[in-house]
């Protein structure tokens, strides 16, 4: 029983944090967000380091590392809000690797792993996904339906309508599949559950950063001669932010671990992780704005980017309510099984 990272995992985390704190400073993120452009220079650098392929298996040109390593990168990228198409691409790769045909895997995965190809993943109803993060610039789009079916499509096979979401650090699109692409024939749920874990980890990073910025601010900012962080209204809010963050972090870590080590528990763990992370993302980033007071409501304070990222991630691939509904189903099955036993 060991809840910590290995030395290698810690190295990945440290390297990623150092790199991003240097290359994805708030000014740079804001500059790209305001102009609506991806940070192609940073993206090139991350591709050279092999990030997009970290969890893709070696036979498809990836690094073949585990879901924990992927979660580490997702968390760090969430912290930095780096305007790069990383998350969308690895979500697509995850589902393709787990449930697309061998031909589709060979066609798409090496490109995604090298970063030359961009992917995106959306949840569709009757073939249409209303909001696909990364969808506007992806070359390959995976659409999954609630019934466990899905399709993988080249972008030109789909109807892609660009959307300006409230989070301009990434592109987004409305995507309709029509009859295009190829049906997924493998275990779609296993891919989607791993994708849920990656989103959850990004949310943990967003929360972590929101708390860090807030703590730094409330230590400095004074009211009636005292740092506002000394008042319980503020300090207890920060404690609550930590609680939410750690609740999300612990369940996301567990889910990442089950994905490789105990896949039978993955569905439950992924639903828990996404439920906890979606709630935490919304609450912690909203709290961050509140704790910043008037400044927090201004464009320049930069906390709003975290809030906006969290709002999108919270509903991505199903929000807290849907995840809890899934969990309730799992709990119901379990109680029925134990009653039958």
């Amino acid at each position: 029983m060991d809840f910590g990272f290995t030395d290698d995992q810690r190295d990945i985390q440290r390297t990623a944090r150092d790199l991003l704190s240097e290359r994805a400073k708030p000014e740079r993120v804001r500059e790209h967000a305001e102009s609506g452009r991806s940070d192609s220079e940073l993206w090139r650098e991350l591709c050279e380091l092999g990030w997009p392929g970290i969890a893709v298996s070696e036979e498809y040109g990836g690094q073949g590392l585990g879901r924990i390593e992927l979660s580490i990168l997702c968390e760090e990228l969430g912290r930095s809000l780096a305007p790069v198409p990383f998350l969308a691409s690895v979500l697509a790769a995850t589902v393709i690797e787990h449930s697309a045909s061998e031909a589709a895997r060979e066609r798409w995965l090496p490109g995604i792993a090298s970063g030359e190809t961009l992917g995106a993943l959306g949840v569709a109803v009757d073939g249409t996904a209303e909001l696909v993060v990364g969808g506007a610039e992806a070359q390959v789009i995976v659409l999954v339906e609630d019934d466990g079916t899905g399709r993988v499509l080249a972008a030109e096979e789909a109807e892609v309508e660009k959307i300006a979401s409230i989070d301009p650090t990434r592109t987004a699109a409305r995507v309709s599949a029509g009859d295009g692409g190829e049906a997924l024939d493998g275990d779609v749920a296993a891919g989607v559950d791993r994708a849920l874990v990656a989103v959850s980890s990004e949310l943990v990073g967003v929360c972590d950063r929101a708390l860090e910025m807030t703590v730094a601010y409330v230590k400095e900012r004074k009211q009636f001669g005292v740092p506002v962080g000394a008042y319980q209204a503020v300090s207890h809010r920060c404690a609550q932010m930590l609680l939410e963050t750690e609740k999300a972090r612990s369940t996301a870590a567990f889910a990442a671990w089950t994905a490789d080590a105990d896949p039978e528990r993955l569905a439950e763990a992924a639903a828990m992780a996404k439920a906890a992370a979606s709630d935490a993302g919304r609450e912690v980033t909203a709290s961050a704005i509140q704790a910043h007071g008037g400044i927090g409501f201004t464009w320049e304070a930069d906390v709003h980017w975290l809030y906006k990222r969290a709002q999108l991630d919270a509903v991505l691939l199903g929000g807290a309510g849907s995840q809890r509904a899934r969990l309730a189903g799992i709990l119901a099955d379990r109680v029925r099984a134990s009653a039958a036993a």
């Binding site: 989070d167 009211q223 008037g294 409501f297």
Partner: protein
């Protein structure tokens, strides 16, 4: 207890409702940015003014209708219900005018009230400062006497409409020796001078509702002092007391409309069942806000001062609006996260509700100390 309107109140409401139905504002401009939008609201104020509906709560001698508190609340409810904008000069009408009526000299009233009412001269409020936050007593903007003038230097923040304003209700420190809240004076500062620079303060919604004011040796004549030198604290409190009274009714109706829209949307998308509990709770809160607002009005009418309801209503309203707009993301879907759509605007704008006009933390302090009589915490720096 009688929660119906009197015949007179009903007549007032019907007259206003009929007028609003017959006199819609011009179509909201779709381009031209904030300037065009403001011009549109100014035009709307002119129409209200011409029909005698710009400020019904003002006494008839100043061009109002001498409306009762209840009628005034009805006015804001109806403005909200008709989904028409507020008059452009909302701060002049709600804060500046009433403050002058209490503290102004006859000359000041005569000079300033008419153009407030007509919208010819727009007013803004220069209270908050970057380092003061909720702590009015620690204002740093200085006013130094120079002949018959005062020379003012400092910085203000959260001044909405400053770029369109002729006059600023400015509180500045006129005596740096006096105890903190004793050395303040309330000025009317002419915004049309080079010494005053307005910089828009962009919000998380992307728009700039507010501004920063940079004041570098602005000149204000003695005649523009309201309520006397050193009396600024008291005069400012009069302004603040007026701040929320009427607006609450407009906000409450706006919340009601948003909720009705959301319920309709949930019905349209087959989600009434799934979100029934959350929507019902929002309904209870909306109704409770409405009832508490009316109760506050009764208290003022009966006892001459508002009960605890003011702070409770603001708190409950802001929290409810945040819950509502967050729930909308789950019900409305992608549209609520798409830039430029009204649901996404409401979601982002709502985050300001628990900060502007008294943060929720400050409201809780006020309730604890002034309503419940709990001891104030004395902190040591």
């Amino acid at each position: 207890m009688d929660l119906t309107f009197s015949p007179q109140e009903t007549a007032f409401r019907d007259e206003l409702r009929a007028w609003l139905a017959a006199n819609a504002p011009a179509p909201e401009p779709s381009d031209g940015g904030e300037d065009a939008h403001y011009a549109w609201r100014r035009d709307w104020q002119r129409r209200l003014y011409d029909a005698g509906w710009a400020a019904p709560a003002w006494p008839t001698e100043y061009g109002g209708r001498g409306a009762s508190l209840t009628e005034s609340a009805i006015y804001f409810e109806e403005i909200g219900r008709a989904r028409v904008p507020m008059a452009a000069n909302v701060l002049g009408l709600l804060l500046g005018g009433p403050t002058l009526m209490v503290w102004g000299t006859p000359e000041q009233k005569e000079r300033y009230l008419p153009p407030i009412l007509s919208g010819e001269e727009i007013w803004c409020q220069g209270f908050s400062e970057p380092d003061a936050g909720s702590d009015l007593a620690s204002l740093k903007t200085r006013a130094v006497k120079d002949g018959d003038d005062w020379v003012v230097t400092g910085q203000k923040v959260w001044t909405s409409g400053a770029q369109y304003s002729k006059w600023c209700m400015l509180v500045a420190r006129s005596d740096s020796e006096a105890a903190k809240h004793k050395g303040l004076t309330y000025f009317l500062m002419d915004m049309e001078q080079d010494a005053v620079q307005v910089r828009p303060l962009r919000q998380i919604t992307g728009e700039a509702e507010f501004n920063e004011l940079f004041i570098e040796e602005a000149r204000i004549p003695d005649a523009n002092i309201v309520g006397g030198v050193g009396n600024g604290w008291k005069v400012a409190l009069t302004t603040l007391m007026n701040e929320r009274a009427g607006l609450g009714f407009a906000l409450q109706i706006r919340l009601r409309q948003l909720l009705d829209d959301l319920i309709a949307k949930a019905a349209e998308r087959g989600m009434l069942e799934r979100y029934g509990d959350a929507l019902a709770e929002l309904h209870v809160r909306c109704e409770s806000i409405r009832l508490l607002a009316w109760k506050g009005l009764t208290d003022v009418e009966r006892y001459g001062q508002p009960g605890p309801e003011g702070s409770l209503v603001k708190w409950l309203w802001s929290d409810t609006n945040q819950r509502l707009t967050q729930l909308a993301v789950d019900i409305v879907g992608a549209e609520a996260l798409t830039s430029g759509e009204s649901w996404s605007y409401e979601l982002l704008r709502a985050r300001g509700n628990t900060i502007e006009g008294g943060t929720t933390e400050v409201l809780k302090n006020i309730i604890a100390e002034r309503v419940l009589g709990l001891p104030r915490l004395k902190v040591a720096a």
